[in-house]
């Protein structure tokens, strides 16, 4: 009952007072965030501020010390509707011992225990074809994934997530190392997902190209009593520009960081 009610209230993802520590060192402290339906959220912060840890905690890949995570209004421990979300991890697939084709990589998004007993449907193949077409790599579908460039492999992983046809898309630094052409494809994909009313969470170091698509920005800082130092619609307060606009004119990362209090 409460689960359905909360979903009507709208949160696709919500955390309450989330704390995560590894080996006794606190990585995330008192994180309470909400992702509303059809919102695109950027998750920002310097290296070591716990962005990837937060994402992993949201999808159950990272154990949580305190606090709660709810996906679609359901506590993470009881959540089983995994087909409703798709994750693009930070790492690239990289060189593989066994050849894996671009097509197989994208089709792997359709694998689920729920579909164990039924063959692949024609509509699922169409989803994969459309997803690869959208990232402009349909002509490479028969090629080995590891013969593509890094930026192209990121586009394939993006297509893989699109092929999941999920309401929630979580992307961990999807543009790292992308050149202008790959970045353009990425921006178009996010804009399209926004039009479709999907909820998107993007971890990034660079808001410049996607700021116009962002409904909410969340900024994390390491080693504070509260990891979240800003949550709201862009633009960011001037003191936080270094976490989001640093790739051309601003000094190297860290140089402009405010001094932060060390956790007691």
């Amino acid at each position: 009952m409460t689960a359905e009610r909360r979903e009507l209230d709208g949160a696709i993802v919500s955390t309450q007072h989330l704390c995560v520590a590894f080996d006794g060192a606190t990585v995330l402290q008192d994180v309470s965030i909400t992702l509303a339906p059809a919102q695109v959220t950027a998750l920002l912060g310097p290296n070591g501020s716990g962005k990837s840890t937060l994402i992993n905690a949201l999808v159950g890949l990272q154990a949580v010390q305190h606090g709660t995570v709810e996906l679609f209004g359901i506590p993470l421990g009881r959540f089983s509707q995994w087909q409703r979300l798709a994750l693009v991890p930070q790492h690239l697939p990289g060189a593989s011992s066994i050849p894996v084709s671009v097509w197989e990589t994208v089709m792997s998004a359709r694998i689920s225990p729920r579909r164990r007993w039924r063959p692949i449907q024609r509509s699922e193949r169409q989803l994969c074809t459309d997803a690869l077409d959208r990232v402009g790599l349909l002509h490479r579908r028969r090629d080995r994934l590891d013969t593509l460039s890094g930026g192209q492999q990121r586009r394939v992983m993006l297509a893989r997530a699109l092929a999941a046809d999920a309401q929630l898309l979580i992307l961990d630094e999807p543009t790292a190392g992308m050149d202008a052409q790959n970045l353009q494809v990425f921006v178009e994909v996010i804009a399209h997902q926004r039009e479709l009313g999907r909820t998107v969470l993007i971890v990034t170091h660079d808001l410049d190209d996607i700021e116009h698509l962002i409904d909410q920005a969340i900024v994390l800082e390491p080693s504070t009593d509260q990891s979240v130092v800003f949550a709201g619609p862009p633009p960011l307060p001037p003191s936080m520009h270094h976490v989001a606009h640093h790739h051309h004119e601003t000094p190297p990362q860290g140089a402009a960081s405010p001094v932060v209090a060390v956790d007691p």
Partner: protein, 273 residues
């Protein structure tokens, strides 16, 4: 007299065909997960089961299957518990497997370690009619498991973390893959032998991946190469009078070398196309 006129050769050929066909289908997952040596260790553990069977004068396939399955379970447990200490723990398990096998076989009255040779390197004459039924059942288990869970195994082999966010039970699927490797070890025990059985899982796959571009094609070509190597190796061992295991593995390695040579112009053609 042709070799097919002998009952024992017909049984040996069928057993070899089964292992050649199915071992690479499991090996492709092991190689992708960088566990190529797992099958090797499982063979060592199964040897203890064979030693026990000799000692207790029971059929070797059930005891080998039980110890290999227990070994598979233990290996997955150790791997899940720790990455660093896991390596040493696995080595201990594998040494224990060989030592236990030789020890039990030596204690068996009237058998001695000589009998073990047939299990270590395969033998043309030891596939009994009752063994064939067991092998066919074990292969049926492999096929059914692959049809139902193969896609989830593929997802786990690609990226276990992403698989987990798709709802795949990564630990259970990993254990299932180790169990299938244990079954392959037992299926190959009679013809290829326990010391070389992992080679028939790995070598055809390693050969195939030099010219394939997809996981599915690698599995299919690996399986075809495994079947060819097993049958040719077995027939060769009959004429040359050597144990079939080494003959099969040498033929498979020959296949690897041939494909390595063929792969160069194939790749060049693909890149200039």
């Amino acid at each position: 007299m042709g070799l097919l006129d002998y009952d024992f050769m017909r049984r040996a050929l069928l057993a070899a065909a089964l292992i050649g066909l199915f071992a690479p289908l499991i090996g492709v997952f092991l190689v992708q997960r960088r566990l190529a040596l797992l099958g090797d260790g499982m063979g060592h553990v199964a040897l203890t089961g064979v030693g026990l069977a000799l000692l207790l004068r029971t059929a070797p396939i059930p005891t080998a299957m039980i110890t290999a399955a227990a070994g598979a379970f233990l290996i997955e447990f150790i791997r899940a518990r720790s990455r660093t200490a896991g390596d040493v723990a696995l080595a201990l398990l594998f040494y224990g497997g060989i030592a236990g096998g030789v020890l039990f076989a030596s204690l068996a009255p009237g058998q001695g370690t000589g009998t073990l040779n047939a299990y270590l390197f395969g033998s043309l004459s030891t596939v009994a009619a009752s063994d064939l039924i067991a092998l066919v059942i074990l292969c049926a288990i492999i096929v059914i498991t692959l049809v139902v869970f193969g896609r989830e195994m593929f997802a786990v082999s690609l990226d276990a973390q992403i698989a987990a966010t798709q709802g795949v039970a990564v630990r259970s699927i990993s254990t299932m893959m180790a169990m299938l490797a244990a079954i392959v070890v037992v299926v190959g025990m009679r013809t290829v032998g326990l010391l070389l059985v992992s080679a028939i899982m790995i070598v055809p796959v390693a050969a195939a991946q030099q010219i394939t571009r997809s996981f599915r094609a690698t599995a299919a070509l690996g399986s075809a190469l495994g079947l060819t190597a097993s049958v040719l190796g077995l027939v060769g061992s009959y004429y040359v009078q050597v144990p079939p295991g080494p003959a099969i593995v040498i033929v498979a390695l020959g296949g690897f070398a041939v494909i390595a040579v063929v792969a160069v112009p194939v790749r060049r053609y693909r890149t200039t196309r």
